[in-house]
């Protein structure tokens, strides 16, 4: 079990790609529905702009990054900020695996919603593994 029983989840939330919106939607499902007690959601922009106190969370708890594109900004930025990444999810890989694509960045549509659910379940499974210390 992790020290506090909590895991940090960070999503890329990129604006310019629909899969960034899927990444964002999926972490909301995790923190609001699937694992609300086990997950601390950390927003990247305030962390990086230096206007957030979340750097301590990122430094002390295991982190799962959820990236919406091959740039992998969430992963790179957490590494840059000294975070310990214990799980990584790359949305395009899962989209390809399940052949599901969102309609647009602003309207995920049924396929995008389903993709967000699948990714949320995958994140929740990583959370469980980390919390149980497996």
């Amino acid at each position: 079990m992790t020290e506090s029983g909590k895991v940090v989840v960070v999503a890329c939330a990129g604006m310019d790609k629909p899969l960034g919106s899927v990444a964002r939607d999926s972490v909301f499902k995790v923190v609001e529905e699937l694992r609300p007690k086990e997950v601390e959601l950390v927003s990247l922009p305030p962390l990086l702009a230096g206007v957030s106190s979340n750097s301590e969370l990122v430094g002390n708890l295991p982190v799962i990054t959820v990236d919406g594109c091959a740039e992998r900004c969430a992963t790179k930025l957490i590494v840059k900020n000294g975070g310990k990444i214990r799980g990584r999810v790359l949305v395009p890989d899962i989209a390809k695996k399940h052949n599901l694509l969102p309609e647009s960045a602003s309207h995920l549509g049924p396929n995008g919603e389903r993709l967000a659910e699948i990714i949320a379940e995958e994140i929740a499974s990583i959370v469980d593994r980390l919390v149980q210390g497996m």
Binding site: D16, S43, P45, A49, V51, C73, S104, A105
Partner: protein, 141 residues
Amino acid sequence: MALIMNKVGIVSCSGEIPEGTISRIATRLVLEELRPDQTVTICLPLFLAGGEGERTFAKLFPTITVDGCEKRCAEIGTRTYSGKPFATIVVTDILKKCSKLNLKSRDKLSTDEWKFAEKVAEEIASKVDEALGRGKNANQE
């Protein structure tokens, strides 16, 4: 060359709060519906991560930052890495003018929240027009 000069970069906050969702949706409305030919989005995480293309664009072209809250991450990031934005918009400032609205959703907006996002989008579009030295209704020219 003339075409690319008529672009404005919009940097939206994307924070995981309801105001961040309003920022994103309002920005998308501008990009997809209100001023599709005059605007591009600058991906804030990539911009902050050191994306050279995003930073160079923001140095060379006017930018409008759209922040969800007073932390003003988009504005601070833009000022730090590229320079002063042409205009800054903060969703909570606009929200103060709509005293009855209480933002709650961060994924699916209610009807009132959608209307509010449209209002924010109109304010962004108006700043786009100013940045390009145009009057209102730029898209109808």
